[in-house]
Symmetry: C2
């Protein structure tokens, strides 16, 4: 008989086989589809065969950004519960933009930490270090980033000498290899520590640069496919999902399509009447110039919220505008950490603040980004058949642990 | 001083240089973007340079199907004016599905016919023959299809011996070459007849099969790019748009995602209570199995329309459901030729009628299709700078003649 733990009101069976949940950053489903078509992902292709695997489509959290979704996957709940709704929020009391990478902003325990507390061995490997502290919060186990793998120590990261053990040099933070290091480290841990639960989270460096079906994208998915096959051969239960999709934010000739909201608002209503926050902003913006399809707006004079909302909704490229109450209800966001308005860009349009605040010099290829509703569909793929799954249930990427632990046949 | 003609309430200057409007069937903007990135479309890439060309993004007509959009482009108006809102409508009086390929269903004159009536030389070349009769309605000029080019006669098509003149064998209706024949014929006519206005319309055979950036798609756009460069060198004003975009309608492993509406409705409400019409259905369905992201529903008992609407809106994969009045207003459709309900599928989902009515055996590659809001963004590219264009104006693909004739600098 298996044991259960309850985390954030959801029950999870403790695993009987090593269970690996992979979050492929920026995995628009078409990447996998095209890699299979090009013959580059034979393991993933094999999951289509009868009785072998499961491929479902789920909805990620909006804003379709990395941190909110990674935290949802590891807590099993939306941002209204865990509190992380972007990289930044605006603290009206202090008048400052606050980086939410610190675990003090996390309002819920993770499945990972609770599994460890229940005596299971848990390992977490992320590509970028920015996620490590949040994902590893309260976790007694292994937790390190590829970016700073050489800093891993037993007392702080639960493992040491990992670079030597993996046998790969630590890659650049802007590279496909950073994600490969995550998978190689995952395999090394699976073979030697054999953790009960492994969470692997990559970076979307490749997806920001390369469209589905292009040689670079196909090679990246071929690399992942080889590791997935090895995890499968080693007997692991494997659940693959994504934090968000990815779309071009350009015109047909590859030039960025951007609505610079702060410029438009200042021009229309005057400076200092509103403040546009782009919660995609983080210390690593080279590949997207802090341009995504989600923005929040803080309005100085609350009486003008509706007027400003109507104006923003009328802008070409804006898909919809929700006020704080609507947005926090519809997208299950913490109302105290979003603006008076939440703005979603159309699929092919990004939202900026002021044009002179965005450095696009790092965009060597046409802008691809995420953040909006158009990047909400993500894969939920398992190397097992599922049972007792309600067909009418709306699936979320943050059901990955539920599917892998509670529904594997 | 240039002359003007007025067609369907819009004024058009008669051209001073040969003016070519190209409708690339299924041209999701990313096809051009990726072809440029791959170095396959140097002419289109050159239009980005200062002072050379113009690239805008416009909205096509919903349903994002071929016939409604081609007719909108050549009439300059939405389907509420020209009447063609799909390949089929359901005639409630006779209880029969009626094919709308016959010009008797066309309710407005075309810019092409009116230009010819004003004494200008006009030529139309379509890929498939199904569009020829509609596009050529009332036209004294050249009008033929690549599919039946060998049937072209002076008295019926305004030209003869065109296969011999083009010097290409007549290609299969399911081929990339069918579209190439259109461009080759256009070039032959431009060089010899030098028409004042040429309208070229391709087929989306390639786009239904191949994603942007794949070798087959890039080769197809490279072919077009070579012809566009030749038209440009020959002094033509060139406006390139599309009837609709194109998206995968699959899961991550490439299997079709389809909501079979008739099955769901029959199961829930009983047979004979509603009839699902898929206006994408036409005699050439091999490459999409008549599956798109748009459907209309005729409801036998009008009192049940709201109940059925709510049910359909609740189905996973359905983006929205509009009643006849809402749909005809929002999408400017002829209310007498749509059903009681109009249903739009989500970007990655197609809508079917009954599963056993769809032959998917011809789908040798993962389903790609169109019909919904997600395929509404299309390119509006010109080989000239534009002038006197209102920046706040919502651009449509059916503004192509307006831009090429009235706004070229």
């Amino acid at each position: 008989m298996s044991e259960h733990i309850v985390v954030n009101g959801r029950s999870y069976r403790t695993p009987s086989a090593p269970t690996i949940v992979v979050c492929i950053d920026g995995c628009e489903q078409e990447y996998i589809n095209q890699a299979i078509l090009a013959g580059k992902a034979p393991f993933l292709a094999s999951l289509r065969e009868a009785g072998v695997g499961t491929a479902l489509t789920g909805d990620c959290v909006v804003p379709s950004f990395t941190n909110p979704n990674n935290l949802s996957i590891v807590t099993g709940r939306p941002p209204s519960v865990h509190g992380i709704c972007g990289n930044f929020f605006f603290d009206e009391a202090s008048g400052a933009e606050v980086l939410m990478n610190d675990p003090k902003y996390l309002r819920a325990p993770t499945i990972l930490a609770e599994m460890a507390r229940a005596g299971r061995r848990v390992a977490v490997v992320t590509a970028k270090d920015k996620l490590r502290a949040l994902l590893g919060h309260g976790l007694r186990g292994i937790c390190f980033s590829a970016e700073k793998a050489q800093e891993a120590r037993i007392d702080t990261h639960g493992v040491e000498q990992i670079v030597e053990r993996v046998g790969m040099p630590v890659p650049s933070v802007y590279s496909a290899e950073l994600s490969e290091f995550v998978f190689a480290a995952g395999l090394e841990l699976l073979r030697h520590e054999r953790p009960d639960v492994i969470y692997l989270s990559t970076t979307d460096y490749v997806q920001h640069k390369h469209a589905p079906g292009t040689p670079e994208a196909n090679d990246f998915y071929a690399m992942m496919d080889r590791y997935f096959a090895k995890y499968h051969e080693a007997g692991a239960v494997l659940a693959i999902t994504a934090d968000h999709g990815m779309n071009a934010k350009t015109d047909a000739l590859g030039r960025p399509r951007v609505v610079y909201l702060q410029d438009r608002l200042d021009e229309r209503f005057g400076e200092q009447t509103s403040r546009v926050i782009l919660p995609i902003t983080d210390p690593y913006v080279v590949h997207h110039g802090a341009l995504g399809s989600y923005a929040t707006i803080y309005v100085r004079d609350r009486d003008r919220v509706r007027e400003i909302s109507r104006f923003v909704a009328s802008l070409d490229g804006v898909e919809s505008v929700l006020d704080r109450a609507e947005a926090s209800e519809r997208f299950e966001l913490p109302a105290d950490r979003i603006g008076d308005l939440v703005v979603l860009g159309e699929r092919l349009t990004a939202l900026g603040s002021a044009a002179d605040q965005h450095d696009l010099s790092g965009l060597t290829v046409p802008l691809r980004s995420h953040g909006g509703l158009s990047e909400q569909k993500v894969p939920l793929i398992l190397n097992r058949k599922l049972r007792e799954l309600d067909g009418a249930r709306r699936l979320r990427n943050f059901d990955a642990f539920d599917l892998a632990l509670n529904h594997v046949a």
